[in-house]
Structures are given as C-alpha cells and as structure tokens.
Amino acid sequence: MTPLTPETIFFYVLATISVVAAMLMVSSQNPVRSALFLVLTFLCVAVFYVTLNAQFIAAVQVIVYAGAIMVLFLFVIMLLNLGAPQPERNRGNAQRNTAIVLSLILIGMLFGFGTMYVLPPSAPDALALASKLGTVEGIGANLYDPGQPWLFPFEITSILLLIAVIGAIIMAKRKI
C-alpha cells in the first residue's frame, strides 16, 4: 500500500471517477448519455497522461478523442435518431451472465499475474529523464530522428489515413 500523499489521493479520486464513468457508460440505456460518460473517462485519462509527464499525448487525447472522435459518435447517434432508448428484445440473461463471469475471470487473471510478476525497479535517473521526454520537443525529436525506427511508420500512417478517408466515403455514399 502506498502512503497517502496529496498526489496519491488525487490519483485515487480521479481513478474512481474514470472507472465509475466507464461503468455508467456500459450500463446506460441512452446512447447519448453513454457517449458523454465516455468523454468524462477520456478526460480523466488525459489528466493521467499529464501526471505521467506525457503532456503532448494529453493534449492530443483531449483534441482527438474527446473532441473529434466523440463528436463523430454523437453526430452518427443523432443522424440515425438513436437518442431515445431502444426497446431491448429480451433474449434471456444467459449471454449477460456468461460475459460477466468471463470478465471476472479475466480481471482476476490480470491482477493475479500482475502480482506474480514483479516489475523491475526503474532506473534512478529514469524519472528525471521522463519529465523531459513528453513535451512537444521531445516527441518531435524522437519521431523525426532518422536514427530511430519511427519515421517510416509515420509515413505509412498517412497512407492509412488516406485509405480510411476513401473507405468512409465509399461506405457512406449512396452513389459514387
């Protein structure tokens, strides 16, 4: 058990908020409410990125996930008029119960193996180093460094996004 400093209390409060928001997202019947709870979870994750010294990732998380992707979700929900709760056809609780039992087994395995495997202690200078790496400067210097393996995947990502744009248009358009 870690000692209760203001930092850890902040972490526990925020972790509770994010987990409760995720649970409400799954349990809510109204898709719009689910989307808004998911935005809350994403914002909590962005704050976790800030506490992990990943400032650039935190900003991108807010802009791309909580901004662009969730707006796209809400747009589709309202376009298809799914805002009202749908009458759920009762199909028995077999699948639901099986899913919950399997998930409990999964989380038990994750926690069990997690406690069995002891994380090697971080290097003494790792934290001082990490505080400089997450800035825009650090990320950019690494991403565009020819000595690092990230430049080629970065170019491939642009092709992936182009394919996604073309695919989305072909899927959604009535007549090309």
Partner: protein, 100 residues
C-alpha cells in the same frame, strides 16, 4: 509519486469494463465506444511503462494507436450508416447477413 503498478491496475479495470460492454451491448455504436475505451486502457499502459523505464517509445506507440483508432472509427461509422440505410435498423441481433 504514484507507483506504476497502480496505473497498470487502473488500465486493467478500464480494459475489462470495455470487454464487458462489447459482450453485453446490442447497439453497435456503443460497442464501438467500448472498443475505444479498451484502446485507451492499452495506451495508458504504454505511457505508464514508458515513464517507468524512462523511455519515450511508449508515447510513440500511443501516437500510432491514436491514428489507427481515428481511421477505424471513420470507416466503422460509415459501415453503420450503410447498414442503417439498407435495413432501417442497427440492432446487431437483426443484422446477421453474414451468419451461416
């Protein structure tokens, strides 16, 4: 400083909540949202372990995972709109075109 194991436990919890949502929900849009939640949990693991070992590589993976997530959402929502146009419903119990 909050230990790395706490972040890993939090991300395991978020991931399992996403798994439950994918398994029990019947609305494909909410299933997509749960997939996004699982991707976010994985990203949190990458960043936490990157800080633990003092490396920036974890954050690089997060950038690429984010780009893939954006591409996946745009194509997936296009598919949902196409299904809705042809069947007037998106309940995944009634969309079983590829079921044998």
């Amino acid at each position: 400083m909050v230990p790395t194991s706490n972040y890993l436990m939090l991300s395991a919890m978020l991931f399992v909540i996403g798994v439950v949502g994918v398994l029990i929900k019947r609305n494909p849009i909410i299933i997509f949202m749960c997939v996004e939640l699982m991707l976010n949990a994985a990203n949190l693991t990458f960043v936490a372990l990157g800080r633990h070992f003092g490396q920036v590589n974890g954050q690089m993976y997060v950038i690429f995972a984010l780009a893939v997530a954006a591409a996946e959402v745009s194509v997936g929502l296009g598919i949902i709109i196409a299904i809705f146009r042809s069947k007037e419903t998106i309940n995944i119990d009634e969309v079983n075109l590829m079921k044998l």
